[in-house]
């Protein structure tokens, strides 16, 4: 089981990505943690260490993938 983290901020672009995209991942192989950076600001540093610069973003195997564009991390601080 690999870990994946979906960082979002509750924005419409984020919700769309979560509903259509994250649910498509293989549940037999990926345990997806969903983190709302708007509410969990203490996780922003972790997101930045992964290389995340905007949300929504999905980190798979430590690699960040930015999906469309909802909000810059800098705007959430």
């Amino acid at each position: 089981m690999s870990e994946a983290v979906f960082f979002h901020a509750g924005c419409p672009v984020c919700v769309s990505a979560e509903q259509h995209f994250i649910q498509a991942l293989d549940p037999a192989r990926y345990a997806v943690e969903v983190v709302d950076l708007g509410k969990q600001k203490n996780r922003i540093a972790q997101a930045e260490r992964y290389g995340v610069v905007s949300v929504p973003a999905l980190v798979i195997d430590g690699q960040p993938f930015h999906i469309n564009f909802g909000a810059a991390l800098a705007d959430l601080k």
Copy 2:
């Protein structure tokens, strides 16, 4: 089984997205077609109809999701 189309153009960002990201989709639910728009220019019009403006992009259930940024579709024509 739902259909998903991964549009790319052979760029390094595209290859990374394919290797780390597309392989994570649930194969029991999604049949992913991979289309290289650099080689299959006749599919660019289809990508545009889905709302794709850059690659790599994944279309799930008719909805486009742009992943990071490799190349603009306009540059592939």
